[in-house]
């Protein structure tokens, strides 16, 4: 009777600790020490399964002999071994009154920890994911009562406790996973911030210029790719246009993108031809690229006086030129290699004459490869068709394209960054 009320009190005490969401460490320590008292056991331990290695280890141990406890904490053994292994396998509690006559008993654990296990009870830690470990008590103190070993009541008590412990461990693990996920999520957010903050996004970009009009947009995917666009004036009559897509996703892609953009801008401002610029940037990117990342990059210079557009393509989707009353055409030229892949890659310049009211559209494959729920791509043909209608302004054109892509991939999560840069040449020289 006395025993029963002590155990009830213990269960109540532990119930309160569980309810108070005590830290798992403290909770497990409380469980094993109280359990040892209530069961008159010399030692109590929680064994957990290391799923990867298929080993059992003791994260929590209470033992009369503190040195033995220390040795147990260091120990690991195959998950199939011993009584614990059997409990893990069968998911059923086991009581062993005399280990010397039980063939399932694994004496190796005793040898390693330099302890002697006479009798033991063990109960499975059952969670929703199956049996995740074992709660066991060893060596009932003979001085405690007439009985030399644990009773079925003791085993039932241990089993009752093991249920609560398993739930607590499960909850703690779920919380750890959530925290890890949150950290990862935060990293991706940082990547997204890097990517967004580096892009120029004040429009109109050149309010004083009547001879061209420009608009750009980048809609990052949830996992953040490494798209970027850029535009700047090299001289008052040379407008640089850049669009690029870094391989890979997340923080590495965002960093590589930041480096690529900076190198390109710094090189371009010295005034080399687009092909010469890509050659230089490619060599610089290859020199320090242990991660083997690469970037597809299109770079062109629009001469705003003459309408000559000189460009070089490093493995990127060819941009479209939209002429009034004519179907849109992709800019001809065999692409050179993506940048950052091979330092020996070569690049060529090509030139096309842009007439007043023509529009150049640069984009990334986030547009053409936007998927719908049936895994169908948006496609270059649909984009090209859309470009057949008259263009009011670069902003209107990009809004129209984004709306059409959105219509296509309704109900589907965007898997890649969607990036567009459009320039309408108006001609007439700059003021």
């Amino acid at each position: 009777m006395f025993e029963d009320s002590a155990r009830l009190r213990l269960l109540h005490e532990l119930g309160c600790a569980f309810a108070a969401r005590t830290e798992l460490e403290d909770l497990c320590r409380l469980v094993i020490s109280k359990c040892g008292e209530a069961l008159h056991a010399e030692g109590v331990g929680i064994l957990l399964l290391d799923e990867k290695k298929q080993e059992l280890y003791f994260p929590y141990v209470a033992n009369e002999d503190p040195e033995a406890a220390q040795r147990l904490l260091q120990m690991r053994f195959a998950a199939t071994r011993g009584i614990a292994g059997e409990v893990l396998r069968s998911g059923k509690p086991i009581r062993v009154d005399d280990t010397s006559t039980d063939s399932r008993f694994y004496s190796g654990a005793d040898q390693q920890s330099r302890t002697t296990t006479r009798d033991l009870i063990a109960a499975p830690l059952r969670s929703e994911q199956g049996t995740i470990g074992v709660l066991q008590a060893v060596n009932r103190r003979t001085s405690a009562s007439a009985s030399a070993h644990f009773s079925d009541d003791d085993l039932a008590f241990l089993e009752a406790l093991s249920g609560s412990v398993a739930v607590a461990i499960d909850n703690a693990r779920a919380m750890e996973e959530r925290a890890a996920l949150r950290a990862l999520r935060r990293e991706v957010e940082i990547a997204s911030e890097i990517q967004q903050s580096i892009l120029p996004r004040v429009f109109p970009a050149f309010p004083e210029r009547q001879d061209f009009d420009l608009f750009a947009a980048m809609i990052p995917a949830r996992d953040v790719g490494g798209d970027f666009y850029d535009y700047f004036l090299i001289t008052p009559s040379q407008l640089a246009l850049v669009i690029a897509d870094v391989s890979g996703k997340g923080v590495p892609a965002a960093l590589f993108m930041a480096v690529s953009r900076t190198l390109l801008r710094a090189t371009a401002l010295n005034g080399p031809s687009p092909a010469a610029c890509l050659r230089t940037v490619n060599r610089l990117l290859c020199a320090e690229n242990s991660a083997e990342m690469f970037v597809s990059l299109f770079y062109g210079i629009l001469d705003t006086d003459s309408g000559r557009f000189t460009y070089s393509n490093g493995g990127h989707n060819p941009p479209f030129v939209v002429r009034r009353g004519a179907p849109a055409v992709a800019l001809p030229a065999k692409p050179g290699c993506v940048l950052g892949a091979m330092d020996i890659a070569t690049y060529q310049d090509a030139t096309i004459l842009i007439e007043p009211h023509d529009t150049l559209l640069l984009y990334t494959d986030g547009v053409s490869e936007a998927m719908n729920s049936r895994d169908e791509l948006y496609g270059e043909e649909r984009l090209q068709q859309l470009l057949g209608s008259p263009v009011d302004s670069p902003r209107a054109l990009i809004d129209t394209i984004l709306a059409d892509v959105q219509r296509h991939s309704l109900d589907t999560e965007q898997s890649d960054d969607i990036t567009l840069l459009a320039v309408t040449y108006r001609g007439g020289g700059h003021a």
């Binding site: 890979g248 083997e292 692409p335 050179g336 290699c337 993506v338 892949a341 890659a345 070569t346």
Partner: protein, 111 residues
């Protein structure tokens, strides 16, 4: 992604079947690099059964090619499907990776 290996004289032919995307490329990369590190000097990757390659797939091919070159070996690809061929041409990878129309031509070129 199914990966099978056959030997044609001194050349190891690695035949792929499936989509070469971020998920499948890791296994392929491990396999190719293990073979190169085991001193395989001549290798052809047969892409006849691959109808899609992502930039992660291109990266694996690039990494294997560079490792092979550092080992004084040669890696070539052959039998690209239309989709894959387009990706190689668009990205300019066709200018830095050895490509062949079919396995016979690839083997002939390597030996």
């Amino acid at each position: 992604m199914d990966i099978t290996e056959t030997r044609h004289g001194g050349t190891l032919v690695v035949t792929l079947q499936g989509r070469l995307n971020a998920a499948s490329t890791e296994t392929l990369q491990e396999r190719l690099l293990a073979r190169i590190d085991a001193d395989e000097k001549l290798m052809v990757v047969d892409l006849q059964g691959v109808d899609y390659i992502s930039s992660a797939g291109l990266r694996t091919i690039l990494i294997a090619t560079k490792r092979m070159q550092a080992n004084d070996g040669r890696l070539a690809l052959c039998s690209l499907t239309d989709n894959v061929d387009q990706v190689f041409r668009m990205s300019g990878f066709d200018s830095i990776i050895e490509l062949h129309h079919d396995l016979a031509t690839a083997l002939q070129s390597l030996t």
